[in-house]
Each structure stands twice: as C-alpha cells, then as structure tokens.
Symmetry: C2
Subunit: 259 residues, 2 copies
Amino acid sequence: MTERGERCVQSVVKAMAVLDCLARRQGPMSLGELSAELGWPKASVHGLLAAMRQNGVVEQSAADGKYRLGIRLFSYGCIVSASWDVVRHSREKMDHIALQTGNTVFLSTLEEDSAMVIETAAATGSFRVVSEKGSRVPLHCTSQGKLLLAYLPAGQRRLVLQRLNYQSYTPHTIDDPQRLEAELAAIRDQGYATEDGEYRIGLRSASAPIFGVDGTVCAALGVVGMFRRVRSEEFQYARELVCRAAEEISFDMGYREPK
Amino acid sequence: MTERGERCVQSVVKAMAVLDCLARRQGPMSLGELSAELGWPKASVHGLLAAMRQNGVVEQSAADGKYRLGIRLFSYGCIVSASWDVVRHSREKMDHIALQTGNTVFLSTLEEDSAMVIETAAATGSFRVVSEKGSRVPLHCTSQGKLLLAYLPAGQRRLVLQRLNYQSYTPHTIDDPQRLEAELAAIRDQGYATEDGEYRIGLRSASAPIFGVDGTVCAALGVVGMFRRVRSEEFQYARELVCRAAEEISFDMGYREPK
DNA sequence: TCGGTGCGTTCGAAATAATCGAATCCATGT
DNA sequence: ACATGGATTCGATTATTTCGAACGCACCGA
C-alpha cells in the first residue's frame, strides 16, 4: 500500500473507511466488529475512532461502548443539503405535482453508483409509496437511475455501466448492458425516462432531467406510484407534469436550451 | 503537541478540523483560504482534502478548484437522522400541533453548545417563522436551549454554563449566569421552558422535555411564533399542547415517570 | 465471593507515513 | 507571449502511526 494515484494522507483514508463501515451497518458497532470487518488491529481502529469522537463525527454509546455515526454528521449533511440550489428551486413545484397526482415526487442524484433521493414531496393517496431522503436505489432499473445514466458524459457512463451488477429485481428488470445502452439512447431521444415495474412489481415511475447552468444534469425529478399501466392516462399526465416542471426548474437555475 | 488526553490519530483530528472549517464557511473555499485559516502549509491541507475527496466527503469544483463539503456527508446525515427514534415518534404529533396552532413546531437537541433543530413541522399561518433543519440557536435565550440546559446533568451543565458567552440579542435576553441558573431551576420545577422575545424581538416560544427510556432528556419539543404575549390564551394553549405531546412521546419511547 | 470471559482502552518501541518549503504545472487574463 | 494566482507534486527530514501485548473493568456463572 505504498503506491497511490492520489497523494493523500492514508490515516484519513482509513478514517473514512471506518465511517463507511458504520454507514453500511446503519447501526451501532463494537470496536471488535469494526476491527474484524476492516481487518485492522483494534488499537488502530480505536485511534481513528477517538479522533472522530472528539468533535462528534462518531459517537460512543455510554451504555455498551458501541460506536455509531454522530450528530455532527447530521449537521454537515444539512449544510450540504442547503447548498443545493436545485432543492430550493424544486420544492414548490414538487409539492404541486404531489398534490395534482396524489403520488410521491422525488429529486434524485448520483451517489456511489446508485441514485440517491435528495428531496421528496409526500403522496396524498392512501396507497402511498414512501421515499426517504438519503435512500438509494439501483441505476439500471429505476427511471431516475436510467435518466441520470443517460445524461452522464459518455466516458463516465461507460465506466459506471461496467461496474454495475445488473441484478434482476423483477421479470421486467433490464439485466444486460446492451439492452440498457439502447434504453439510455432512447431516453436521451425522448428527454425523459420511465420504469415499468423493473424494480418492484406494481411500481411505475417517470423521471426528467434538471439541467444546471453549466449544461450538465444536476438531478432527476421523478414521480413514483402504483399506476395501473404505463399507457394509462394518469401516468402520462404525471409524466408530463414532471417533464414540464423539470424544464421550468432548469430555466430557473439558469440553463438555456441550445438552439 | 506531543501530549494528549485522548490517544488519537492526529491526522484524522486535523481532517476533522478541515471539515469544521468548511462547515463554518457554509460555502466553497480555496486551498489557499483553508491553509490560511487553519495555519497549516498548503501541501498538508491538500493531503487531507485529497483523502476525503476520494469517497465524496469533500468535493472539488471542476470550474474553480474550490473545495466544499460533499454529498457523502448528506448521505451520512440521513443515516444519523433516521437512527433517531425521537423523530419517528414525534413526526405525527408535531404536524398536529402545527395545524392546531398555526405556528412552527420543532424538535431540538444539544450540539456543540447550541440547540440544533433536528425536525420541524411548518407553520400554516401567513406570518410563519421558518426553522430549518440543522440550524442552531443559542442556549441562553431560547426556550429549547434553556430547557435542554435545565435537564442536563449538573456536572455537564456547569461546564456549559461557563463556556457560554451570554450575548445580548434583545433587551430581554438573560445575560448573566446567576439569573440563568435561577431560570433553569424554575424550568425544572414547572416542567417546561418559555422564551419571551429574548432572542428575536416579537418572537415567543415554549419547549417541553422528551425523555428517553434511560431517563435523560433526548430532545426538546417546542413551538415558536409571533404570539402577542406570553400570557395570551393562544400562547398558553400552544404551550399546553407541546407539554402534553412531549409527555406522550416520552411514554411512547419507553420512559416511565418516577413515582 | 471468586475466577473467567469479553469488552474497550492503554502502552511503547519499531518502522512507516506525514510534513512542509520549494518547485512545477496549468489555467486566466493582460 | 508573459505574468499572475492558483492547485498540485516532490522528497528528505522527522514526528507519527502502528500493532502485539498488557491492562482495567463490567458482567456472569459457579
């Protein structure tokens, strides 16, 4: 471990790995567990944890001594969230679409080879699909995932497509790279993505791109619900609302369509 | 810098200081700024940043090379937020109080010598007070701050009271430790805290303690708004709703009042 | 009451990895 | 083409991390 593309402080890389480990578990872990999981001596892991405990990035339970992600990370997360213009520009329109369609509206962006929800507007219907802030879904079988992939620069897209696992969640999941490539091209053509029970049976969704001032897609605006069929009027209506809102938000953010 | 109470990895402590610096600014910073602010050579800071950039804890702008907190911190923040039982148990009752009173309802907890908002329910009225998740307010001049202080174990409370700055925000701010101590005792007696324009002129708030199963206060439930007077009927009504809800939430979380 | 067990924590010397001034690169703008 | 201001890389010195082992402590069953 003496050679590295990037010249960086290895202790800090390790500390980040500890955070990742705690994040994957989503719950408290003992020093022993962390040490075993990471393959480093307990004393080493302890040193890293102690450093991060100092300012609340990790916390230690007074009862059982287990470690977990700390409140300071919540604080940082709020700062990051507040820095996203796209959330501020979308909030109102998202609520509006949620009311009009009765379904869940969400804003997603790429994070670690998956699509992460960064904002939601709750459904009003009784069969509401819940979509929690911070939750992640696969890229190859959701409308937001496929959309974000479709608009990724070709170079990065190729790399991500290679890394994906193409797990089949339902019989409708697109589980081979060739077909996904074709779907992505179609998405770029029509300017939006749909998903027809490819991730969860009975769930359908549509997503449209929000462009930043630099012309790249900074988020996917989507609607998800238990629509009857993709061709149904309600779904097409929801899809259109999302597409129009995404265009308007892009405009608000300073993006101008190339002529 | 060879002696330390805690035995911890100093590079990681420094990395955390970099994060803190970026968090305080709440916006992008250049390597030079960070270096100057922290008083360390640019190359050193760069190494720390490079390590954290690897996994998205910090991001670097492609345009101007400036650094900022990364999306991974948002992801971590959501995990932390989701781990708080108190939020899940409070959500519904908070919405209810917000509807009943038309004012902003919030859940707060201690973070770095201030009271941080961890959940909110938006006001319905036209003169709504906004309270953003993650925002922090002083301890000595808000109902949530005084409440959290009042129920802190005596040892910790003394330490915090010493560190506070007692800045006067309005003519009503309690700006001396003695009077604050007396106020805290009164709060413990009556079981709730109020604030009468001590932080912002015209703003009044009331907070009640939510107890965890271990008997400590894990959060303050509060309501804030432009109430006419503390003795007004609306304020007393809101205060009572908050107190009752806080008791119920405490019960739901497994707390049983000592006989 | 007494060991045993499984924790987190501390210790200390060997050895690795961080440090930081200076050099380099790479945009921008003149 | 040149200067400027920034990020980044380099490399020898040196302080820091490392990690096995020992410690302290709570819990639990005998």
